[in-house]
């Protein structure tokens, strides 16, 4: 396991990776981390600062200057901003005299040269010379080397040792790493690991905190290894399940007083950062460079089966939209609070990428599975956040409705409720009306399309869906899913069936009445608003849970787009 950890640490980058893992490790070791890395700023050479006792020694202040990978001559002392020696000088000359919090002044200080890998042997003499001179010049200040080997040992001791992480769970981690080339298998093992760690019944608060951090560190390990393997698929899916199990643990602390609340929040933040890091890397590597190429991503699936292309491209669409929604969420949440807030233009990047993706990959105009309504909803939700993209969203929706009805009429690859891959391979059974009727016995996709058509004020499109329903889909039970009282318990971990389904959804009603009918159900129960992710402002987690566990995106997320209709005005006037 230590070898695995060393490999992992050596591959970590500084920004967003090693500097995220280290504070969690220090916290887990019992130290109090009082300075964490911030975006875009340097704290006079200090990346992470903590105070506490390590290995039974006296309480000391630990100041970390972090360098990724192996420390080379170039990293030690060059003109580069990130060179280590200038950083150490800054710590000695600026941080300690002027920025060290007052309560920690007078305590022994250890300046830690923290590297993910090793320090090259030829650098040892100059480093030794520097540290001896500095120690002589600054009494009470000592230097330590925290290399990959030491960090691996600490991670193993504080996160993964037998009493913290049982052998079976460690085995899942090892198998997950070994099978990264087979993402399905790797993900299956990671999911088992996350479930095991997320089973918190009977845990103390400290154990829960440890479990949360373990999920984070395990995800981080998988991510680093997946990146080295050149296949981020398992890491992406693992990141989602890690986030959801992490949220499940952390969310119970927001409402109660606990000494560990801050630590829990920090561990959750760290986990979210890792999740975001994985998804950003995925998009940067796999999606964004290729969305503007005609048939680029469709061809990159490299399959002989059109079904594979369809399934994968809708999956990519959902991931892209999900990242856009997170970016939008971050931009709004951090607006005005932090100079490093993410500009909304990054959200626009995702929206633009979606338009390219849809234009260049026509397969995205015809979902083959009804549950691809999830990806459709996420994309429409994101595009609708910017009025400039609404006309495009409408045209895409129109293209989908056209193709769905055409495919249905011609027994083409129309959306169906089949789930198993082998069944989908046989779909559609050409010319078999009975089969088609069974394969379209129910739908969330069509009523959701009708809802979006109504929200877009696209009367023609709404009528087209009405006609399609009346003429061809009379047998199809149009329905919408809503969270219920048990959803908070099961939504994030998919531990049980939950939620309630509104059916039949009356698309035969005039548009305004239809909207009123649907949104009335949103107001009828408080369950959606009471989901912890919503209560604490983390609504994208609901979307992640729905996408990951294949549940329709709750209609409540679209309420914001509803314009008051005549029936609302009448109701208001009556009131």
């Amino acid at each position: 396991m230590k070898l695995i950890l060393r490999e992992y640490l050596a591959s970590l980058r500084e920004r967003g990776e090693l500097d995220v893992v280290l504070p969690d490790l220090l916290s887990q070791m019992g130290l109090n981390v009082f300075s964490r890395p911030g975006r875009g700023t340097r704290q006079d050479g200090v990346d992470v600062a903590a105070v506490g006792a390590v290995d039974g020694e006296a309480e000391k202040v630990y100041l970390f200057s972090i360098k990724p990978g192996n420390l080379t001559r170039k990293d030690w002392n060059s003109d580069a901003v990130q060179s280590l020696r200038p950083s150490l000088d800054e710590i000695l000359d600026a941080y300690i005299p002027s920025r060290l919090p007052a309560e920690h002044r007078g305590k022994p200080i250890v300046i830690c040269i923290c590297v993910g890998g090793d320090i090259q042997e030829q650098l040892r003499p100059p480093i030794k010379g520097f540290t001896e001179q500095a120690e002589a010049k600054h009494p009470g200040i000592t230097f330590q080397e925290w290399n990959g080997d030491r960090l691996a040992g600490l991670i193993q001791d504080h996160f993964l040792r037998e009493d913290l992480l049982p052998e079976r769970a460690r085995s899942h981690l090892r198998k997950s790493l070994a099978m990264l080339d087979e993402p399905d298998t790797a993900y299956k093992h990671f999911k088992n690991l996350a479930r095991k760690l997320g089973a918190t019944e009977g845990n103390t608060d400290a154990q829960n905190l440890t479990a949360l951090r373990q999920i984070g560190i395990c995800l981080s390990i998988v991510f680093a290894w997946a990146r080295d393997t050149g296949n981020l698929e398992a890491a992406y899916r693992s990141a989602e399940i890690a986030l959801l199990h992490g949220w499940k643990i952390a969310s119970t602390y927001f409402d109660r007083q606990s000494k560990l609340n801050l630590a829990i929040a920090e561990a959750l933040t760290s986990l979210i950062m890792t999740y975001r890091h994985v998804s950003d890397d995925y998009l940067t590597k796999v999606v964004l460079p290729h969305v503007d190429k005609r048939h680029g991503l469709s061809s990159a699936v490299r399959s002989q089966s059109a079904l594979d292309v369809n399934l994968r491209l809708f999956d990519v669409l959902g991931r892209l939209a999900m990242t856009g929604l997170w970016t939008y969420w971050e931009a709004n949440k951090l607006a005005g609070q932090d100079e490093s807030r993410i500009p909304l233009s990054r959200c626009e990047v995702c929206m633009t990428a979606i338009t390219h993706l849809l234009n260049n990959n026509p397969v995205l105009r015809l979902p083959v599975k009804d549950d691809q309504v999830i990806e459709v909803s996420l994309a429409l939700l994101l595009l609708s956040l910017d009025p400039r993209f609404v006309p495009f969203a409408k045209s895409w929706l129109k293209a989908m409705v056209d193709q769905c009805s055409f495919a249905y009429t011609t027994h083409g690859g129309y959306p169906c409720i089949l789930g198993a891959y082998d069944e989908l391979l046989e779909h559609p059974d050409k010319g078999n009306a009975e089969y088609r009727r069974n394969a379209t016995a129910g739908s969330v996709l069509y009523p959701m399309m009708a809802l979006w058509a109504a929200l877009f004020d696209a009367d023609d499109l709404y009528e087209q869906i009405q006609t399609f329903k009346a003429k061809d889909l009379e047998h199809c039970n149009f329905q919408l899913w809503f969270p219920d009282g048990s959803s908070e318990e099961h939504l994030y971990t998919n531990s049980e069936l939950h939620g309630a389904t509104l059916s039949p959804v009356p698309v035969d009603l005039p548009k305004d009445e239809f909207l009123k009918h649907v949104f009335a159900e949103c107001e009828a129960t408080p369950h959606f608003d009471e989901l912890s992710a919503n209560r604490y402002g983390f609504w994208p987690i609901v979307a992640v849970a729905c996408r990951h566990h294949r549940l329709p995106i709750p209609v409540q997320l679209f309420r914001v787009f509803r314009k008051p209709g005549p029936s609302d005005a009448a109701a208001e006037a009556q009131a």
Binding site: E182, P183, S299, A306, V316, N361, V363, Y421
Partner: protein, 582 residues
């Protein structure tokens, strides 16, 4: 013991054991000499009173469950039949049974000729046979043979018999008697008498029965064949019969058209062509004959009439008739590049679905090599943007699985047109969807044409190649993205399904294979050479080696089928269905 004696004893023993017919089969397949000896042995067994061979062959059945080939057993009996001494009614019952049991096989009627020989061998037999057909309706199929046999003995008498029976109230007798009028044997060197023709003319005016009219048509043509001077009267007779006749008459006409095309005079051919257009698709055999006829016209330089008839039939029955019903005609078109160009240009430009589907079959008929059609300027007419675009889109819509053929047509259009706008449009279509979907065959073809082309056409093809290069290089620049690949489980599931589909297709093809139905199969598990020990004429074993070869085929599928199946399907449907008002 001589061969004949050995066979005789074997058949006799088999008869006593109740396995006579299988024994005949064994003798028939055990070598040329045995096979040739069997008829004489049968004659001997029967005529010497050993047992009733005729009665034994009356037991022969033809069906899918029978162990032995029906025709292998019937054949020795046919050869023995003329020499058998047996009562005429008994022989007739046996012959009628063996004729009917043969079904629609092309060899079914061969026994009737032997029956004629049987009747000819005794002067009374034709009379007895005629009497038997009049008395027993199950023997009517043999009337024609009896009359023909009789006419070789006394043509005048049996012509009289035919005329008598032509007035019979029984349709079955009437139609065969009239048919026989055309088949009777007249005195050596004498043409049929004018009275024969007059008999038909007299009957055709009074006759309303379709089957009888069919007999008249056949007889009229027979008389014409025997005396070309009857051409006009025979043509008029056939026209009159066809004017009143329906399916049977049309079938009779189709037999003349299909099997005697070269002998039919122009006027008679026109009559046949006019009426054969009325054929209904349910009459498969009639359609089959027409197919032969069209094929003959196409190969004998009268392509215009053949194509016109084919077109009219396809257009009249677009749902029921397809090019598959005219496989001989299609093969004939394929044999001539000029005719292929003419037909493809004409039919794709007309845009009718039935004709375009038939055009597709023409292109697909050459299994072993791609067809490279070009437009026929005479059929294409004026150089117009709309026509060129329409034809190009029809070619794409219907010939999409034959990319080289589409490319060939489009390149010839590019070469033909003088309009920049038309050329640009054709080049765009040539790139997308043709070369874009077929980066192998279509692109290779375009590149080869580019090398030999000049002027604006070369420039247009150059643009197509540049577009294709850019498209491919963009896709190649993406490299490998394993995150997007289907999972191993999905790949396995897909491959398993594909294997199952291919295996089922293979089994189906094997079950329908003519070749495999004729040979026995043996499975070799290892090696690449088959070793056999064959017994030579001197009874020594000789070692032979047969090297084995592998056979394979490959086809390129359009990439859009995978990456944008719905859009692709929609585009093809639009291209196939769009029409224009000329």
């Amino acid at each position: 013991m001589s061969r004949e004696e050995r066979i005789r004893e074997a058949l006799l023993a088999a008869h006593q054991a109740g396995t006579f017919l299988p024994a005949v089969y064994q003798a028939a397949v055990s070598g040329k000499e045995d096979r040739e000896a069997v008829p004489s042995v049968l004659v001997d067994l029967h005529n010497s009173g050993q047992f009733d061979v005729v009665a034994a062959f009356e037991q022969l059945q033809n069906g899918p469950d029978e162990k032995h080939n029906f025709f292998f057993i019937r054949h020795p009996f046919e050869n023995a039949l003329p020499r058998l001494n047996a009562p005429v009614p008994q022989v007739m019952r046996c012959v009628a049974h063996l004729f009917r049991a043969a079904g629609t096989d092309m060899a079914a009627g061969s026994i009737l000729n032997c029956f004629v020989d049987f009747c000819t061998n005794e002067p009374n037999r034709p009379k007895e046979a005629i009497a038997a057909t009049e008395a027993d309706s199950s023997l009517r199929d043999l009337l024609l043979g009896a009359l023909v046999a009789g006419s070789t003995l006394d043509s005048e008498f049996y012509f009289g018999e035919a005329r008598r029976l032509a007035k019979s109230g029984d349709i079955e007798l009437r139609k065969r008697a009239l048919h026989a009028v055309g088949r009777l044997k007249w005195s050596t060197g004498q043409p049929p008498p004018e009275l024969a023709l007059a008999t038909l003319e007299e009957n055709v005016h009074q006759e309303a029965n379709d089957q009888v009219l069919a007999g008249v048509i056949k007889a009229a043509f027979s008389l014409f064949e025997q005396n070309n001077a009857y051409s006009e009267r025979a043509t008029a007779l056939i026209a009159s019969a066809l004017a009143k006749g329906e399916d049977y008459s049309l079938h009779a006409a189709s037999e003349i058209f299909g099997f005697d095309t070269a002998n039919v005079p122009m006027g008679m051919l026109d009559v046949l062509l006019v009426h054969l257009r009325r054929t209904t698709p349910v009459n498969n055999r009639t359609i089959h004959n027409i197919d032969y006829g069209i094929s003959a016209l196409l190969e004998n330089g009268d392509a215009g009439r053949g194509i016109d008839l084919l077109e009219d039939l396809l257009l009249a029955h677009p749902e029921a008739l397809t090019g598959q019903h005219f496989d001989n005609a299609i093969r004939s078109v394929c044999q001539s590049p000029a005719l292929t160009n003419r037909v493809l240009t004409r039919w794709l430009l007309r845009g009718n679905k039935a004709l375009c589907e038939c055009a597709r079959l023409i292109v697909e008929a050459a299994h072993d090599r791609p067809v490279h059609p070009e437009i026929d300027p005479a059929e294409f007419g004026e150089d117009s943007f709309v026509s060129a675009r329409f034809l190009a889109r029809k070619a794409i819509g219907f010939l999409i699985l034959r990319p080289e053929s589409i490319a060939s047509l489009l390149v010839s259009l590019i070469r033909f047109t003088h309009s920049d706008e038309t050329r640009d449009e054709l080049a765009n279509l040539l790139f997308d969807p043709v070369v874009l979907n077929y980066p192998g065959s279509a692109r290779t073809y375009v590149e080869a044409q580019f090398a030999s082309e000049t002027g604006p056409a070369k420039e247009a093809l150059g643009k197509v190649i540049d577009q294709a290069t850019e498209y491919e290089s963009t896709l190649n620049s993406i490299g490998r993205l394993p995150e997007l690949h289907p999972s191993e489980t999905q790949r396995q599931t897909y491959n398993h399904r594909q294997q199952r589909t291919v295996s089922e297709s293979m089994k189906k093809a094997q079950s329908e294979s003519v070749l495999l139905s004729m040979v026995s199969r043996s499975v070799l598990l290892y090696g690449r050479t088959s070793i056999h020990l064959l017994r030579g004429p001197d009874n020594t074993l000789r070692r032979t080696e047969i090297p084995l070869r592998s056979f394979g085929t490959e086809m390129e599928l359009p990439r859009s089928l995978i990456i944008e199946p719905a859009e692709f399907d929609y585009m093809l449907r639009v291209f196939r269905n769009e029409q224009w008002a000329k």
